[in-house]
Symmetry: C2
Subunit: 328 residues, 2 copies
Amino acid sequence: MKTRIAILGYGNLGRGVEAAVAQNPDLELAAVFTRRDPAALSLRTPGVPVLAAEEAPAWADQIDVLILCGGSATDLPVQTPQYASLFHVVDSFDTHAKIPEHFAAADAAARAAGKLCLISCGWDPGLFSLARVYANAILPQGKDETFWGRGVSQGHSDAIRRIEGVLDARQYTVPIPAAVEAVRRGEQPALTPRDKHLRECWVVAAEGADLERIEREIKTMPYYFDQYDTTVHFISAEELARDHAGLPHGGSVLRGGVTGWDGEHRQTVEFTLKLDSNPEFTGSVLAACARAVHRMAEAGMSGCKTMLDVAPAWLSPCTGEELRAHFL
Amino acid sequence: MKTRIAILGYGNLGRGVEAAVAQNPDLELAAVFTRRDPAALSLRTPGVPVLAAEEAPAWADQIDVLILCGGSATDLPVQTPQYASLFHVVDSFDTHAKIPEHFAAADAAARAAGKLCLISCGWDPGLFSLARVYANAILPQGKDETFWGRGVSQGHSDAIRRIEGVLDARQYTVPIPAAVEAVRRGEQPALTPRDKHLRECWVVAAEGADLERIEREIKTMPYYFDQYDTTVHFISAEELARDHAGLPHGGSVLRGGVTGWDGEHRQTVEFTLKLDSNPEFTGSVLAACARAVHRMAEAGMSGCKTMLDVAPAWLSPCTGEELRAHFL
């Protein structure tokens, strides 16, 4: 019996989920819901209906898990509680500071309906969170560091696009090798934002725009850029499309700890991702999470959970016997 | 209420567990059981009784979790089922091929007694198994590689010590950087054992022993050394004690996968450990597992499980609220 998955929101992430579902024989795409005109979308998966979001409730019996692929700023705070009262739901809510609030709203809705809701799935939050929790549980005396990149930050790219005279932009977050290596060696160095990451900006300016002003506005933008060494490169729209179309990302979570009676032994735990496509990888995490949610709901669980509450075996298509024989 | 932990077996691993328990304010060492003369052991932790293994059953009410620190060859196959009928138990059984059999014996004993038993905890099996399961669940199209070292392999060191004329030996397993880098780049290369690891041997020979024969016997030893490039260095007992007293280890689990409709995007997941002290790190994993076992047993679980069945949050001393606010 396959897990019947529906997607709400067919942007980069929704398409990533669709491709991931196609890689997993035990999952099948049952429907895509959209707030756009359904006739305007054409899926890669043959024979799957595209429906208006308002039709979703009528499909409750034909869908095991609904994956919400909207944005964290305005979509998910509304959608996750709303749909968690109708479906078992997975989302990728990634506004770290607002997770407790989002959890509370989703938990109330899911509990009231007897549904299971898994929030903040992906890689950060998600796999990076798991790496932090495992490493902290095992090495209570130590220090965490997270490095992001080299990869495209949508938030920083958007911030540049809002500057007057900017037509388009792509911002890469770049970890600084010397800092990564010092943490890898277990030295637990004190690192400022500037020590850890560079910011590299590729900008398409409007004809006649004041490039010096744009560069200055980028480099002095509070929080986004002013705490970092930032480089700004002006290029044509064609060059941006040719050289910066991808959405690579990744990064490393490291914990340097010590063990022994005098803390005499250094122990370093590292989890690293190198991703050619951030939305396809995140979509792949969401697909595995949908499998887990279906099984956990069948086992009687309800309410809101995160990946920290999911036993790893639930994510795998393999049986316990297979996992013990081949993966342990 | 602290988790009261007892240790059975006070070798390198038992001492590692003791040091780890001391780092965790929510854990306390309640007793150490030994098959040696209890009077011959002196613990680092003040005020903790050292008792003969036969006395363990009488302590059942005063211990929440018993951590078995014996060896996988002969101790644990007997001890784990035996003690799982009296205590909630954690072990580090690491003979990969025999895990299904060990699981079945432990599961039968634990179920019959209503106890919870967590086997094969540590880093391989253990954290490396978790890394494989997460990465495979997320990237179904891909290839796993595991590299071990640079670190001391007890099994290979013991194999050298059994050669006639060898007084002592230390064997380092050394991953080959070019192989690690190719896997990191997501190239999914085909690798033989010789491509992946070197074996470096430091040997103390008896006076007058035939060094050429010893070196030949090492390098041609089936399975242990014949499939690898092996270097043999003869040194004095003093040099061995001075330069090779530590038990460092570590390694990397990597999965290179592809996503997208034509597998056009490479995605690489890596989990790496660099350990100054293998037994202290393994002991730290066992201590966190004992915390999880205590909580899972309180929640009503019983039978045999592995770390694949443990939701990450169970391992952490933090509450769900704390984890969501600070780690997610």
